[in-house]
């Protein structure tokens, strides 16, 4: 889990995404910088409305416009800025080099098409294969995710939630993408099914040598799956580093707060230590540090200007003026 000098696959620079509504501008993603090495799994952690999904959809350029607008930034994939690509070239990347898994398997599949055809669609879009070959490949994919190939011509409603998510994963991996964006892939599933699906994703990722951005709110999943982690708060990355670093030496007060909010299985604490207050309204973000109002260590200077991102420890970046000071 060193993850230090791997070849770079994806690099996001200064990404800004806003949603224009009738009433106000929602600042969903604010100057986000991220990078991902080949074969690496990056966990994107944060609470509802932090902007995790928006980042993922911006990478694939599938944000609904209107209301979503990418207001700035660059997204380099294999060295090429995808935000500058034509729609036609972008289509060749979607589903082929970069694939995405959505949160709710119940709604992510077209209800009136067989699951096999939906997987085959993804394959035939990107590979020049005969119909029979495509079908064969789709059946193989089904079997790879642990679904008998005979179920090729069944419809989504005939599958359970966990099975549907397997189909969605099969569809995403059908063209052996270099990068997989998994948006809360197991949140809608029960714990034991979640374990099955995560296990399968982990081994398939290894097998196909796919990099992954795993979006989740569950720090437990990050601990088990990710090489590196980025913590998202109010549309910003507040902390980024290897999973081990961030978990053992959390530097941002928000990250520390998140850990303290969690009931531990092995702990004996009688009270949790929640973070006070709420995430700021994304249509009306405060000046300076966005976490200031909830931060137990806030000082005057936090309200004056946006804190810089500092290398807190080697390869571990934190967006806080305190970073480098005392640890938790």
């Amino acid at each position: 889990m060193s993850g230090q000098k791997k070849e770079e696959l994806l690099k996001i620079e200064d990404l800004v995404v806003e949603y224009d509504t009738d009433e106000a501008v929602v600042k969903a993603v604010n100057h986000v910088n991220l990078q991902l090495g080949k074969g690496e799994t990056l966990g994107l952690v944060g609470e509802t409305g932090a902007g995790k999904t928006t980042i993922a959809k911006a990478i694939l350029r599938i944000l609904p416009d209107p209301p979503a607008k990418v207001r700035g930034g660059r997204i380099y994939f294999d060295g090429e800025d995808m935000l500058k690509l034509s729609e036609g070239k972008m289509r060749k990347i979607r589903g082929n080099k970069i694939a995405m898994i959505f949160q709710d398997p119940m709604t992510a599949l077209n209800p009136i098409e067989t699951v096999g055809k939906q997987i085959a669609e993804a394959i035939s879009l990107h590979e020049k294969l005969s119909k029979a070959e495509v079908e064969k490949r789709a059946v193989d994919m089904l079997e790879m995710v642990g679904i008998p190939g005979e179920r090729y011509s069944e419809y989504p409603h005939q599958f359970s939630g966990g099975m549907k998510q397997r189909v969605v994963i099969a569809m995403a991996l059908a063209c052996r993408p270099e990068l997989l964006l998994a948006d809360e892939p197991t949140t809608a599933l029960d714990v034991t099914i979640q374990a099955q699906v995560l296990d399968m994703m982990d081994s398939l990722k290894e097998k196909l040598d796919t990099s992954m951005i795993l979006i989740t709110h569950d720090l437990g999943i990050v601990a088990g799956m990710c090489d590196r982690v980025a913590v998202v708060y109010a549309g910003e990355i507040v902390e980024q580093g290897t999973t081990e670093e961030v978990f053992d030496h959390a530097g941002h007060p928000y990250t520390v707060g998140l850990f303290n909010s969690l009931p531990r299985l092995n702990g004996t604490e009688k009270r949790l230590k929640p973070i006070d207050g709420l995430m700021p309204d994304p249509t009306n973000l405060p000046e300076g540090c966005k976490f200031r109002e909830r931060c137990p260590f806030a000082k005057d200077e936090c309200g004056k200007k946006d804190p810089e991102i500092k290398e807190f420890r080697p390869g571990h970046f934190v967006k806080c003026v305190r970073a480098g000071g005392e640890e938790r």
Binding site: D22, E23, P67, D281, P282, T283
Partner: protein, 284 residues
């Protein structure tokens, strides 16, 4: 995540008034209502006043919109006609919604066998196309505006019945209804305070739009001689009477038709606007 304190109703009205078309519809409806109330003041002539010396006058100074085959002033008749149209719209929708809501509520609340039987009855009832049923009922009741209103009211109740039943079935499953039971709320209270107010939004939309549709249906009945009887100035009947002279005096047909269309359109616009305002999610 607005921080402004606004009640539900005010928020809805706020959204409604931002919709220009809906406001236009509302303005037309208000004008219609005013015309109906102040008809005697607004109309230059009495609606039944015949002047056989000046029949078929083209629109001009003496008669802004011309005169008909009996020399009656068309503008005056149109203004008085608003009374009939609004009466038809409001009364027939009132009949339909009261019948439908009662029917649908019974089915929705009792559920099970009662629901099953009632809904099957409704299926049968709806096997006769609504327009045909209106015609048959109006024919059975005999010509006349009130009979037409009753006929339209009865034949359009099914929509309300289905809608309110579906709403009750969804709302009944919501947790706040369960919560109300857990704090000892009585059944009538649950229905009145927790179910009906939350089931009402689509009903209001459909009531608004159906006022327009009823005006249209009544005009149709009048057109085939089943609705308003002469000399009552109803738009559909005027159109029907003008038909015989259409070749030479097209305005006799065109003008009442435009009135019908404008008022129906106004109610439809308002209804559309209300739907968007009540359920902002549906808009985009």
């Amino acid at each position: 995540m607005k921080k402004k304190k606004k009640s539900h109703t005010r928020e809805i009205l706020h959204r409604l008034f931002k919709n220009k078309l809906a406001v236009a519809g509302l303005v037309v409806i208000i004008l219609l209502v005013l015309a109906a109330i102040f008809a005697p003041l607004l109309a230059p002539y009495a609606y039944e006043a015949q002047d056989l010396t000046s029949t078929f006058q083209a629109p001009g100074k003496a008669h802004l919109l011309g005169t008909d085959n009996l020399g009656r002033d068309i503008l005056s008749r149109l203004i008085y006609g608003t009374r009939q149209s609004l009466r038809i719209g409001v009364l027939s929708v009132a009949i339909a919604s009261v019948l439908g809501i009662t029917f649908g509520s019974i089915a929705g609340f009792y559920g099970g066998k009662v629901d099953n039987v009632l809904m099957r009855m409704l299926d049968i009832y709806q096997s006769v196309p609504a327009m045909l049923l209106s015609i048959a009922l109006a024919a059975a009741l005999g010509p006349g505006l009130n009979n037409a209103i009753l006929a339209i009211g009865i034949s359009t109740m099914a929509e309300y019945a289905r809608m309110i039943r579906a709403q009750i079935l969804t709302v009944r499953e919501r947790e706040y209804v369960e919560a109300a039971r857990a704090i000892n709320a009585s059944d009538p209270r649950i229905v009145l305070k927790h179910i009906i107010p939350n089931a009402f939004a689509p009903l209001i939309v459909s009531i608004t739009m159906n006022i327009g549709n009823s005006i249209l249906a009544a005009a149709t009945l009048s057109f085939i001689g089943l609705g308003a009887q002469p000399p009552l100035p109803e738009w559909g009947a005027m159109l029907s009477a003008g038909r015989s002279y259409m070749r030479d005096y097209g305005y006799l047909v065109i003008i009442p038709g435009i009135c019908i269309m404008a008022s129906v359109l106004a109610f439809n616009l308002l209804g559309d606007g209300l739907r968007d305002a009540l359920d902002p999610k549906m808009k985009n």
